[in-house]
C-alpha cells in the first residue's frame, strides 16, 4: 500500500490531502481475469488531473486518452461496430475548472498486462498534470460510489485576519442549514435545497496564507450529484463574489471518491 510519489508531490503542491492509498501493487493480471466470452480484461485506472488539465473537458479527455492508449502500444480493446473505438467509462463527472487527485475510469485490454506495465507505458504518453497512479481489475462497481471529498481554497479581500475565522464559521453554518439555490437539472433550472447533498463541511481560516480552506464531502452517486461549484456560489450570499481575478480567486480539488457508506475509499 504505497502511494506513488508523483501523487504525493501533486497533493503537497495543491496544499491538500492525498487520496487514501489503494492497493496499487495488485498481483499480475492473470488470464483467468479475461472474460471468457468477450476475451477482454477490464482494467480500472486511477489518475489525477490537475493544473492546466483542469480546463480539459470530459469529452476532450476521452479523445486524448484514447490516443494516448494507441501511442502507448498497450493491447487496448476496440469496440467492434462500424466505428471501432476504445471504450472508457468514467466514474464521476468532473466539471471544467475543477482539479482532481482521484479519478477513475474503466477500460478493456485484449491480453494480460500488469499494473506496472500499464503505468509505465501510459504515463510517458501523458502530460505531467495528467498521470495514472493506479491500475487494477475493478473491485467495486461504479454504482457503489456514494460521495466525493473536495478541498477548496478561497482567496478574497473580504477574508482578512480579523474576519477570517468568523466568515469560516458563517459558511459552515450556512452549509449545514437548508440552502436554496437554483440548481440545473434535466428538466431545467429550478430552486433546490442543496443541503441534503452536503454530507459534511469543515471550513477553516488559514492564517498563514490568508485563505479560507473548505473541506467538503458531497453526494456523488448517479441520482444525487452535487457540483462543488454550488458551495462557492452559495458563498456569494456572504459577500464572497469571485468576479475579479486580480483580487479574488478559488480553486477546487477533488481529493477522494468514497463508497455509499461515506468512509470506504472507492477502488
Amino acid at each position: 500500500m504505497v502511494q506513488p510519489r508523483t501523487l504525493q508531490i501533486q497533493a503537497e503542491k495543491l496544499n491538500c490531502a492525498a487520496p487514501a492509498p489503494r492497493d496499487t501493487v495488485a498481483p499480475d493480471f492473470l488470464m483467468d481475469d479475461i472474460h471468457p466470452q468477450s476475451r477482454t480484461l477490464t482494467v480500472r485506472l486511477g489518475f489525477y488531473k490537475v493544473g492546466r488539465m483542469q480546463f480539459i473537458s470530459h469529452l476532450d479527455l476521452q479523445r486524448f486518452m484514447k490516443r494516448a492508449f494507441v501511442r502507448s502500444g498497450l493491447p487496448i480493446w476496440f469496440s467492434e461496430g462500424f466505428n471501432p473505438h476504445p471504450k472508457m467509462v468514467f466514474s464521476t463527472p468532473l466539471s471544467i475548472g475543477i482539479q482532481s487527485l482521484c479519478e477513475f475510469a474503466d477500460t478493456k485490454m485484449t491480453s494480460p498486462v500488469t499494473p506496472a506495465q500499464i503505468l509505465d507505458a501510459l504515463n510517458p504518453c501523458m502530460p505531467d498534470e495528467l498521470q495514472l497512479f493506479y491500475a487494477a481489475p475493478p473491485k467495486m462497481k461504479m454504482t457503489d460510489i456514494g460521495f466525493a471529498r473536495y478541498e477548496m481554497h478561497l482567496h478574497h479581500p473580504a477574508v482578512t485576519k480579523e474576519t477570517g475565522a468568523a466568515v469560516a464559521a458563517e459558511l459552515d453554518a450556512m452549509y449545514s442549514a437548508p440552502l436554496i439555490l437554483s440548481k440545473r437539472s434535466k428538466s431545467g433550472d429550478k430552486d433546490t435545497d442543496i443541503s441534503p447533498f452536503i454530507r459534511k463541511t469543515e471550513t477553516v481560516f488559514d492564517r498563514e496564507t490568508g485563505n479560507l480552506h473548505i473541506r467538503a464531502t458531497l453526494c456523488a452517486d448517479n441520482a444525487n450529484f452535487l457540483n462543488p461549484e454550488y458551495l462557492i456560489r452559495a458563498a456569494a450570499e456572504k459577500g464572497l463574489v469571485f468576479d475579479d481575478p486580480m483580487t479574488a480567486w478559488y480553486d477546487i480539488m477533488r481529493t477522494e471518491i468514497l463508497c455509499a457508506d461515506g468512509t470506504t475509499p472507492f477502488c
Binding site: R52, M53, Q54, F55, I56, S57, L59, D60, L61, R63, F64, K66, R67, A68, F69, V70, R71, F78, F82, N83, P84, H85, I96, G97, C125, M126, P127, E129, H155, F242, P245, M246, A248, W249, Y250, D251
Partner: protein
C-alpha cells in the same frame, strides 16, 4: 492576478493553456532567436493548419531557434485581457510577444487581415513598420513582423504592417532567415534596416518598405521603385527542391481540445497539374513535386505511432492525380485496417474517381461524397479549364451510389467570366441528372435483390467567384453585389426538386474578399481604420459586417469597385507584379485569351503548357523527364 481564475471565466479555456503533448520547450539560455508563430484566427482553426505544424518543426529542429505558437484570443478573452491589462502571450513559454525576436503570421485568408492588427494590438506591438523602426531606433526592443502563406502572393494590402514577407515555401527559408538574424546579432552588425536589407538580398523575402509605389490619377500603378539596387525587382518565391528529402515533422503537437482538422495530414505532393483558370492554389504551388510512396508510407506510420490519430488524410490539391496512388494506398492499407485507422481522401476529382479507388476508401464512414464540377455547362467548364465532362461526373456519382452512398455534394461557382443564364440552368440540370442516375442505380439494385438504399440527396453548394492574383482570371471583372445576389435568387427560384438542397455563400463576404485579394497599398488605410473601429474576426459570420466595411472604405476614400467590378487592364501594372510565383504573366494572359475562345489547356500530365514554373527547379515533377519515363513504364 490569478490566471486560473481568469480562465474559469472564458469559453473553451483549453485554447489558452498550452502544455499539449508534442509542444516544444527549450531552455531560453540556449536560444538566440525566438519566433512567435501567430495564426490570425482561433486555436481550433490554427491548430488544424498543416503549414504551422511544418514550420514549427522546421524551426525548432535548429539549434538556437525556439518557435512558439500564438492564436487569436476569442472576444471573451480579449475583454478580460483588456480589462486586466494582459498582453498577448505565446503558449509554450507564456511570455508576451514583445519578448520575441520574430513575430510571424500565417496569412491564408483575406478576411483574417483584420485579426493581424487585432493580435498586434493585443500584444502591444506598434502596428506599422514605420513606428516599429522609429521605436527601435529610440532604443526599444521591437520584434520583426513577418508574414507568409498563400495570401502573400499579393501582400500589398498589408505592406504598412509587415517588415518582411516570406514568399513561397518556408521550410528552408525561415531557418535560413533566422541564421542570418543570429549571425548579425552576434557579430554586432545588426540594425533593423541592415538586417532587412540582407534578408531582401537572400531572395524569397519581400521587404515592402524598400519598394515605393506611385499611382496614376485614376488610381492604377504608374511605377514601383526600389530603395537599393542590389535587391530584386521582383521577389521570386522559394520552393523545396526535393520533396522526398525535405523536412517533414514525424511528430507533432496534439491539441487537447477538439479542433477542425484533428488527424494525420500527409502531404502527398505539392502543386496541381490541372490548371483551372480560376484557381490560385493550382498556379502558385507549381511546379508539382511528388513524394515517393515509400517515404510517405514511412512518414504516415511514424506520425500515427507518435500521435495515435484514428485517421490519416492524404492531402494535396487533387489527390487522385497522384501518379502512384495505388502503390501508396496499398502500402497504407497493409496496416491501417488492423490498427483501425481510417484513410481519408479529400479533394477527389470526378474524372479520376474509380470503383477501385472507392473500394480502397470504403471504410470511410461518411455517406457523402463531394465533387466540384464548378460550372453547369460544358461550355463554361471549358472556359474555366475544369476539364471534367458531365459523363465523368455521372459516372463518378454512379460509382458512389453503387457502393451504397446516397448523398452527393456538388460544388459550383457562380459569376465565372462569360457566364450566361444557360450556365445557371445547367447547374440545376446537372443536379437533376445526378438524381436520375441514383434512381437508375436503385432500380438495378432492386432487380439484383440488393437492399433498398432509400432516397437521394444532392447538395448544391455555390460560391461566388472571386478573381485571384496569379490566375488566368486575375484581370477579370468580379460580379457586382446585386448581380451575384440576383443569380443566387434565380437559382433558388428554379430549383423545385426537394431532393436537391441549395446552399450559397454570402455574396457580401465574397466582395470584401475580392477587394483585398487584388488590393493595393491604398487598402492599408482601410485596414487601419477597420482596426480603429474594432473590426476583428471578419471570417466569422457573427462578426462580419458588410455595412461597416462600406463605411470604412468611404471614410478613407477607397472605392471597392476599383478592385472588383472594374477589372484590371492587361497592360496595367498589377499590385502583385512585384512577386514572381514561377508561373509567368505571358502564360496567364495566354490562358485568359484561350478562355474567351472556349479552348481548354491540357494538364501537366498530358502536355506541358509552358507555364514557366519549371525554371524554379524541383525534382520529381511532371516537368521532369525522368518521371515522364517512369509514367510511361507504368
Amino acid at each position: 492576478m490569478n490566471i486560473d481564475q481568469l480562465l474559469k471565466s472564458v469559453s473553451k479555456p483549453g485554447r489558452y493553456t498550452g502544455g499539449e503533448i508534442g509542444q516544444i520547450i527549450k531552455d531560453k539560455a540556449d536560444v538566440r532567436c525566438r519566433w512567435a508563430f501567430c495564426f490570425p484566427d482561433t486555436y481550433e482553426i490554427g491548430m488544424s493548419n498543416l503549414g504551422i505544424r511544418l514550420l514549427y518543426g522546421a524551426l525548432n529542429r535548429e539549434d538556437g531557434i525556439w518557435c512558439e505558437r500564438c492564436f487569436a484570443p476569442w472576444t471573451d478573452m480579449e475583454e478580460q485581457m483588456r480589462r486586466y491589462d494582459i498582453p498577448l502571450w505565446a503558449l509554450e513559454s507564456g511570455d508576451p510577444l514583445t519578448a520575441f525576436d520574430v513575430v510571424a503570421f500565417t496569412l491564408g485568408y483575406e478576411l483574417s487581415y483584420s485579426n493581424v492588427l487585432y493580435m498586434l494590438d493585443l500584444a502591444r506591438i506598434p502596428l506599422t513598420h514605420e513606428e516599429r523602426a522609429a521605436r527601435e531606433a529610440a532604443g526599444e526592443r521591437m520584434p520583426i513582423i513577418i508574414g507568409g502563406g498563400c495570401c502573400t502572393y499579393n501582400p500589398e494590402p498589408l505592406t504598412d504592417f509587415f517588415d518582411l514577407f516570406s514568399i513561397g515555401e518556408g521550410e528552408e527559408a525561415l531557418p535560413q532567415l533566422s541564421r542570418l538574424y543570429m549571425e548579425m546579432k552576434e557579430n554586432g552588425t545588426y540594425t533593423r534596416e541592415d538586417f532587412l536589407h540582407e534578408a531582401a538580398k537572400l531572395g524569397g523575402f519581400y521587404v515592402p518598405s524598400f519598394y515605393t509605389v506611385t499611382y496614376h490619377d485614376d488610381g492604377t500603378i504608374s511605377a514601383v521603385t526600389k530603395k537599393y539596387d542590389d535587391i530584386p525587382d521582383r521577389v521570386t518565391k522559394c520552393i523545396i527542391k526535393n520533396f522526398d528529402t525535405s523536412y517533414f515533422p514525424e511528430s507533432t503537437f496534439m491539441p487537447f481540445i477538439d479542433t477542425v482538422q484533428d488527424r494525420v495530414m500527409l502531404e502527398v505532393y505539392r502543386g496541381c497539374p490541372r490548371g483551372c483558370r480560376f484557381c490560385q492554389a493550382g498556379m502558385v504551388y507549381r511546379p508539382i513535386r511528388e513524394k515517393s510512396p515509400d517515404v510517405l508510407a514511412r512518414q504516415a506510420k511514424c506520425l500515427y505511432e507518435n500521435t495515435g490519430y484514428e485517421e490519416i488524410s492524404l492531402s494535396s490539391l487533387s489527390i487522385s492525380d497522384y501518379t502512384r496512388l495505388t502503390e501508396l494506398t496499398e502500402e497504407l492499407l497493409s496496416w491501417t485496417d488492423d490498427a483501425r485507422v481510417n484513410l481519408a481522401l479529400p479533394s477527389l476529382r470526378a474524372d479520376t474517381f474509380t470503383k477501385e479507388l472507392m473500394e480502397r476508401i470504403s471504410s470511410v464512414r461518411t455517406s457523402t461524397l463531394t465533387f466540384a464540377p464548378e460550372a453547369g455547362t460544358q461550355r463554361l467548364r471549358d472556359v474555366i479549364n475544369k476539364n471534367v465532362t458531365e459523363e465523368e461526373i455521372l459516372r463518378a456519382c454512379n460509382v458512389a451510389f453503387a457502393a451504397g452512398k446516397n448523398q452527393v455534394k456538388l460544388y459550383f461557382m457562380i459569376g465565372h467570366p462569360t457566364e450566361t443564364r444557360e450556365d445557371l440552368d445547367g447547374i440545376y440540370d446537372l443536379s437533376e441528372h445526378v438524381v436520375h442516375e441514383f434512381y437508375v442505380n436503385k432500380r438495378q439494385d432492386k432487380q439484383l435483390g440488393k437492399p433498398n438504399k432509400g432516397g437521394v440527396q444532392v447538395t448544391l453548394s455555390t460560391a461566388a467567384f472571386v478573381p485571384k492574383p496569379f490566375t488566368a482570371f486575375q484581370w477579370e471583372k468580379q460580379d457586382a453585389l446585386d448581380v451575384t445576389m440576383e443569380k443566387q435568387q434565380y437559382l433558388r427560384g428554379i430549383i423545385t426538386d426537394r431532393k436537391v438542397k441549395f446552399n450559397y455563400h454570402d455574396a457580401k463576404v465574397g466582395r470584401i474578399e475580392g477587394v483585398f485579394a487584388r488590393g493595393d497599398r491604398k487598402l492599408c488605410r482601410a485596414l487601419l481604420e477597420a482596426h480603429r473601429r474594432g473590426v476583428r474576426f471578419d471570417a466569422w459570420e457573427e462578426f462580419f459586417s458588410y455595412e461597416t466595411w462600406m463605411e470604412i472604405f468611404s471614410a478613407v476614400g477607397v472605392d471597392p469597385d476599383f478592385y472588383t467590378t472594374r477589372g484590371f487592364g492587361e497592360d496595367e501594372i498589377l499590385p502583385w507584379d512585384v512577386i514572381d510565383c514561377g508561373v509567368t504573366k505571358e502564360f496567364l494572359l495566354r490562358e485568359k485569351h484561350k478562355a474567351y475562345e472556349t479552348k481548354t489547356t491540357k494538364n501537366c500530365m498530358e502536355a506541358c503548357s509552358a507555364c514557366g514554373a519549371d525554371r524554379l527547379g524541383g525534382e520529381q515533377t511532371w516537368c521532369n523527364r525522368e518521371l515522364c519515363k517512369y509514367r510511361q513504364k507504368n
